[in-house]
């Protein structure tokens, strides 16, 4: 209880900054959304709110004048309809610009949801493996997974707002009913063939199912974990073990399908069989990194007396290892498609290399080379400041990873890292910090009755 009281204090100390940020950015987004709707008619400055008009007007203008020599690849997901004549091209570009703030918010919402989901998977693995080293970190993980509820809700809200009947944006291009209407001039056979899976009602139902699985596991596991604190036997612990095993099976299925739905369907002509794994690696490494960062923060406040540098060392090893795992999957996906060079598949990478050269290759430096070199040394994995630096770079790198997955299909070559992107990150970061640290204050930070807690306290490498 005393610990809880201290934590409330800490949480208040941390939240004002984030709440202010939230407010500010909520306001900014309000403007953004409003400006967007209002400027549907006058076209070209579509997505800019008051703050950004100056900064982006020139950009925009630049974009306008250069559209004659624009890239053919821009229209790749539009069944080739976008670039036949100038008027249609303008319209297509407008659509992409209107998508931009939506895509930016979507990326940020997805990114933080993904972190929380990655932590949930990591937590379930610790539970299912009955790991002896990690129980002192369980409450930290449970705190982070608290964000799964607002995280999935915000994603579902965004998905609902993407519905074509609302006319807010064209993020999910396949939702356009004209594509599957055989009488329409932009009728698309490939999308028509995928209609049984990619249709709006079933898509939303699936989203609810995935979210329900994750939230249910998180809530149940948290409940058993708290009950275990005052229990006389290990029955809650055993329940948690079984639950984790079941969840891991369901998680891999739902996560894989989620990645097809929520990300791969942006490029609805393209497909990759290891996409689910690839997204999983990204969420796993981001999740572990966030566990390490939150742990370091709480430890620096003196709230985790039992966490020693061996625990951090293990987390850093995971950061290092999973970064390599991510690269392995990224490269496997890239190399097979590059090698076979099938037009339908390879457009995905052609777009990214031509229009997203810097983020696409920069991401390799951020996600592989930097963590590989800095975290290779065993002693470095124990130094807080090294982990914080590496963690920040990894998180930024994986944000760029999601950016690369979403942006090319939604805004084409008109990407930038500007106000909507940073605002989106800050908004969801604020929400994330608020939810996570509030959840951390709700329970003592030591799962004291866990049968492995003594082993975990003594853990040393």
């Amino acid at each position: 209880m005393i610990l809880g009281g201290i934590l409330v204090g800490v949480s208040f100390a941390t939240t004002p900054g984030s709440v202010e940020e939230m407010k500010a950015h909520e306001a900014a987004h309000g403007h953004g959304g409003h400006g967007e709707e209002a400027s549907h008619d006058d076209g070209k400055t579509a997505h800019h709110d008051d703050h950004k008009t100056d900064a982006h007007a020139t950009n925009d203008h630049h974009g306008e004048t250069s559209h004659d020599d624009a890239h053919a690849s821009e229209g790749h997901h539009d069944a080739g309809a976008g670039h036949h004549n100038s008027a249609k091209h303008d319209e297509h570009k407008l659509t992409q610009l209107q998508n931009k703030p939506w895509a930016a918010i979507y990326i940020a919402a997805f990114f933080f949801m993904m972190i929380s989901l990655g932590v949930l998977a990591f937590y379930a693995i610790q539970r299912a493996a009955q790991a002896g080293w990690s129980p002192v970190l369980f409450r930290v993980m449970e705190g982070i997974t608290a964000y799964i509820i607002p995280g999935t809700i915000s994603i579902i809200i965004l998905l609902v707002l993407c519905m074509p009947s609302l006319h807010l944006n064209h993020l999910f291009h396949w939702m356009d009913p004209k594509l599957v209407d055989p009488d329409s001039e932009i009728f698309d056979t490939l999308t028509y063939g995928k209609k049984a899976w990619l249709n709006v009602p079933w898509f939303l139902i699936r989203a609810v199912i995935y979210s329900a699985i994750w939230v249910a596991y998180r809530q149940l596991s948290r409940k058993f974990s708290l009950r275990q604190d005052d229990a006389d036997d290990n029955s809650n612990f055993k329940k948690n073990f079984r639950l984790a095993a079941i969840f891991l099976v369901l998680f891999l299925i739902s996560e894989s399908m989620m990645s097809w739905d929520w990300i791969m369907s942006f490029d609805h002509h393209w497909f990759s069989t290891l996409f689910g794994w690839y997204v999983f690696a990204s969420m796993f490494v981001s999740g572990i990194t966030v566990i390490a960062l939150v742990t370091i923060y709480l430890k620096s406040k003196g709230l985790l007396p039992y966490v020693n540098d061996s625990h951090l060392h293990d987390l850093a090893k995971f950061m290092f290892g999973v970064s390599i795992f991510w690269t392995y999957l990224w490269f496997s996906q890239f190399m097979l498609i590059w090698y076979s060079n099938i037009p339908e598949e390879v457009t995905y990478f052609v777009t990214r290399i031509e229009d997203y050269n810097l983020p696409f290759f920069g991401m390799i430096a951020l996600n592989l080379i930097f963590p590989l070199l800095i975290l290779m040394n065993s002693d470095f994995k124990r130094l807080n400041w090294i982990i914080v630096i590496a963690g920040t770079v990894i998180l930024f790198g994986h944000y760029i990873d999601v950016f690369n997955m979403v942006m090319p299909a939604t805004v084409g070559p008109n990407w930038s890292l500007g106000m909507p992107e940073i605002g989106g990150i800050l908004f969801f970061l604020g929400l994330f910090i608020f939810v996570v640290f509030t959840a951390l204050t709700k329970a003592p930070l030591l799962a004291k009755r866990n049968p492995f807690i003594e082993e975990s306290k003594q853990f040393h490498y």
Partner: protein, 176 residues
């Protein structure tokens, strides 16, 4: 120079660990500890210098990467230019993705094999080498600590070792 050593036998790794700490506290020099399996933290307790094997592994890995890169460049681009994946560009950088698995494998191959060979050489291990451990029971379930004897501290040391839980004490001349 005297090369007399005391050999103390232990039957438990936890007892051994605390004995090692005790003996070092009393400023005696532990020559060697023979154990049937690796004991976690023993190297730190004995005050051994940290291993440099990891550094050699990194260097071997770099060598492997360099060898693979040069090899693929010579074989696939220079000596007999190959049309890779229907993209006859004959440039190393454009065909690089196809070489990455080989570069990776060679890095691992060099690092792993050369690291093992380095380990053997540093530990002076080779085929048909006569075993160095003074008592064959250290390959089964006993632990043996060797402490150097200087001058007249033999009795004192024996008493200390017995106090730390040694089951057997033997004073011998070291062969090598």
């Amino acid at each position: 120079m005297s090369s007399k050593v005391i050999q103390a036998m232990y039957t438990d790794d936890d007892v051994l660990m605390s004995a090692v700490k005790k003996v070092r506290q009393e400023n005696h020099h532990i020559e060697e500890v023979y154990t049937p399996f690796p004991v976690h933290g023993l190297d730190k307790a004995m005050g051994l210098a940290p291993t440099r094997l990891a550094i050699t592994a990194f260097m071997y890995g770099c060598v492997g990467l360099a060898v693979a890169t040069t090899m693929m460049y010579y074989i696939m681009i220079v000596d007999w230019p190959q049309n890779i994946g229907g993209k006859p560009s004959f440039s190393f950088i454009e065909n690089m993705p196809a070489f990455v698995p080989i570069m990776f494998e060679m890095t691992v191959f060099f690092a792993a094999h050369l690291m093992v060979i380095t380990f053997y050489m540093r530990s002076k291990l080779w085929p048909f080498k006569e075993a160095e451990n003074p008592d064959p029971r250290t390959t089964d379930d006993h632990f043996l600590m060797e402490v150097a004897v200087h001058g007249g501290n033999e009795e004192e040391l024996t008493a200390l070792l017995l106090a730390t839980g040694a089951t057997e004490i033997k004073v011998t001349d070291k062969k090598h």
